[in-house]
């Protein structure tokens, strides 16, 4: 099979992994040096596919032969898909070629499980070593970690890769047992623990030579598939919150289950609404950046509302805190106002050291004023709808445009 055909198969097989971040790598460059590649911590999207997703890395599988039979996965062994396998050299050459042409900022390599978890992990490490050591490649490398692989192999991978990820796939032991019988939550958490411990030890190691590559400097991430089993948003967000706390994950990605050809009867034939994935990302953002707890976002519900964003839903449940006087309130609370982000909250606090905040400042800072209006007081504004009950206010603020743009 020629490389073009392999690429068609192995990129198709890899696209269900939502992560494409190329951020968090240490600053490095190649100016005047042999080799190729730089990074400055922030990622670059070099293109966008018509599904609106960023193309930042060459995202492929080393092979889509797989011993496992995860029901939601197009590469499960019982799936009737074309199979292909790259050699490590082919992957290295493709990466360098795409990198040089400025199509991508690096490689995100994953693999089906062949022969054994250790063997598969060794192959992934080999590609990364080849790129770093033979080709002097300083671009981004993200390696998928095979949970059951020897921790020593994971540690090796961490010295070549910027980011490692172990996919948790489903938030419950039960879901995994039903849909991914060869995988165990215990093994997945152990691998995350290995990476976490390696990172901590590396950071604590004061005698580390500056030449020695850092341990997975871009951190670790994971992915949860949404809508392949019956897990609720509550379970998903509680799990994400635990993972952030326990293993200091950089990111949890949520991937709406995407129906696959010849879908087995164990998984749904239809995808969940993409809007559900979107709401989970919004909620996740509030967990990471705004100090929200999952319980605050969900109250008594199992699911996040689809028609309004989670911050607005929270604010509608806490009308006693609003309207909030932007000239007095602490920054953290301003960040909790619907339509006002953390950066804007900071800007407003800066601004009010010099003068009183006016409503047009929100416009200038590009806040979502329609959402913020009923919740804020400024020098020249007091909401007329402050007296509206939450139900009426909610009807007024329903997210129709967002929904429309997500669908087409």
């Amino acid at each position: 099979m020629d490389v073009t055909r392999k690429l068609a198969v192995l990129a198709d097989a890899a696209k269900y992994d939502a992560s494409c971040a190329s951020s968090g790598a240490p600053r490095r460059g190649s100016r005047g040096k042999a080799g190729l590649g730089n990074s400055n911590g922030t990622g670059i999207c070099h293109s966008y596919t018509p599904d609106g997703r960023c193309v930042s890395l060459l995202k492929i599988l080393l092979t889509n032969f797989c011993l496992y039979d995860c029901q939601y996965c197009v590469n499960r062994r019982s799936s009737d898909v074309p199979r292909a396998r790259f050699t490590p050299e082919e992957v290295a050459r493709l990466t360098l070629d795409f990198y040089e042409r400025n199509y991508v900022s690096g490689l995100f390599l994953s693999s089906g499980i062949i022969r054994s978890p250790d063997y598969t992990m060794e192959q992934l490490v080999r590609v990364a070593r080849l790129l770093r050591e033979e080709h002097g490649f300083r671009g981004y490398i993200h390696l998928k970690t095979i949970p059951e692989a020897d921790p020593a192999l994971i540690d090796q991978a961490a010295r070549f890769a910027d980011r490692l990820s172990v996919n948790i796939e489903l938030p419950s032991e039960r879901g995994l047992r039903d849909l991914a019988p060869e995988k165990q939550l215990g093994g997945i958490r152990r691998a995350m623990g290995t990476i976490h411990a390696g990172t901590e030890a590396d950071q604590a190691d004061k005698s580390r030579s500056p030449k020695r590559p850092r341990y997975a400097p871009g951190g670790q991430s994971t992915q949860m598939i949404v809508g392949a089993d019956a897990s609720s948003d509550r379970l998903i967000l509680d799990t994400a919150d635990q993972l952030y706390r326990r293993f200091r994950l950089k990111r949890v990605y949520y991937s709406a289950f995407s129906p696959i050809p010849n879908s087995p009867g164990t998984v749904p034939l239809r995808p969940p609404p993409l809007l559900r994935e979107h709401r989970l990302y919004q909620a996740d953002f509030l967990l990471r950046g705004y100090g929200f707890q999952p319980a605050e976002l969900l109250a008594d519900n199992e699911q996040l509302p689809l028609d309004i964003d989670p911050k607005l839903a929270w604010a509608l449940r806490h009308r006693d805190l609003f309207p909030l006087d932007l000239n007095r309130a602490p920054r953290e609370l301003i960040g909790r106002v619907p339509g006002i982000g953390l950066r804007s909250a900071e800007r407003l606090v800066d601004l009010r050291r010099h003068r009183r905040v006016r409503f047009e400042d929100l416009v200038r800072l590009r806040c979502v004023v329609a959402k913020a209006r009923p919740f804020v007081v400024t020098a020249d504004h007091r909401p007329r709808d402050a007296g509206l009950d939450s139900g009426a206010l909610r009807r007024q603020l329903v997210d129709a445009p967002v929904q429309a743009s997500l669908w087409d």
């Binding site: 198969v9 042999a34 596919t49 599904d51």
Partner: protein, 287 residues
């Protein structure tokens, strides 16, 4: 009214502006305009440097002016001078987003940064096939930036590409990196432009294969794509020509699942289950 030519680098403009400040020339009395569109008054000579201490302004304000300067707009220096004037007269907020002029200035800075980011993201290099000693070059690109970002924003590629030699041509200027140093020219030499235009016409089937396979038709959302990647850049990428077809196919029903059409057309292969988790896999799985 004093009319000055706006064809200036930032440093040259700053010298003029400093001289004007010393002379106490208020912003309403000065205007920088394009020399090819002579106004009613005709161009004035550049101001004398003058004597005396330079007026003091916050360093952050000058830095903001420098960042906003590449923004291409008729009369670009007039806003900068007004901000500078106000800053020199005690309005230390004149360059910040809370201020009316400051917010206009910050919008320019943002647009300039975004355009530099566009260069880093959407420029495409074409490898130069022949090894012509007359043409010490490995990679070629054509790009059409909306602002004057090339001289500094192109430095990114020297960090990125090691000792590779590359050339970027634009409608206005061009830069060539010889493996050690960059050489910037404005206007762009015609020979560079011709080379780069040729490179632009080249195709890349391998990349287009990747792009087509990466797209998930079950998640079609062209609006989001258009929002992120303006059409003026898509037109210059090899994958740009695949987009209409991918969108149309997805709308026609390929949306049921995520697989790329070309992959679905290949023969498939289900694998046998291993006997026990530790047993060797079926031979087919290893090839």
């Amino acid at each position: 009214m004093r009319i000055l030519s706006d064809a200036l680098t930032f440093d040259a403009w700053r010298d003029q502006a400093r001289a004007l400040l010393r002379q106490g020339a208020a912003p309403e009395t000065v205007s920088w305009e394009a020399p090819d569109r002579p106004s009613l008054f005709g161009l004035s000579p550049p101001p004398d440097a003058g004597e005396g201490p330079a007026p003091r302004v916050p360093a952050a304000l000058v830095a903001a002016l420098r960042q906003a300067a590449p923004y291409r707009v008729a009369g670009r220096w007039n806003l900068l001078y007004r901000v500078l004037w106000r800053g020199a007269h005690g309005e230390r907020q004149a360059h910040l987003p809370g201020d009316r002029d400051g917010s206009a200035l910050q919008r320019r800075i943002k647009a300039v940064r975004r355009e530099a980011h566009h260069l880093h993201a959407f420029l495409r290099f074409q490898p130069v096939a022949d090894d012509d000693p007359q043409r010490p070059l490995d990679l070629l690109a054509w790009f059409e930036p909306a602002h004057d970002i090339l001289p500094w924003a192109s430095e990114h590629f020297a960090d990125r590409l090691g000792r590779r030699r590359w050339l970027i041509a634009t409608p206005l200027d061009g830069v060539w990196y010889d493996g050690e140093h960059s050489h910037y020219h404005a206007p762009c030499p015609e020979s560079w432009r011709a080379l780069a235009r040729e490179a632009r016409r080249q195709d890349d089937p391998l990349w287009r294969t990747y792009y087509r396979s990466l797209f998930n038709p079950a998640r079609l959302n062209p609006t989001a794509m258009q929002g992120h990647m303006p059409a003026r850049f898509r037109a210059h990428t090899p994958e740009g020509r695949d987009i209409p077809g991918l969108v149309a196919d997805a709308r026609r029903g390929a949306r049921r699942h995520g697989q790329a059409a070309a992959v679905g057309a290949l023969p498939g292969k289900a694998l046998r289950a291993p006997k026990s988790p530790d047993a060797p896999p079926p031979p087919g799985a290893l090839k």
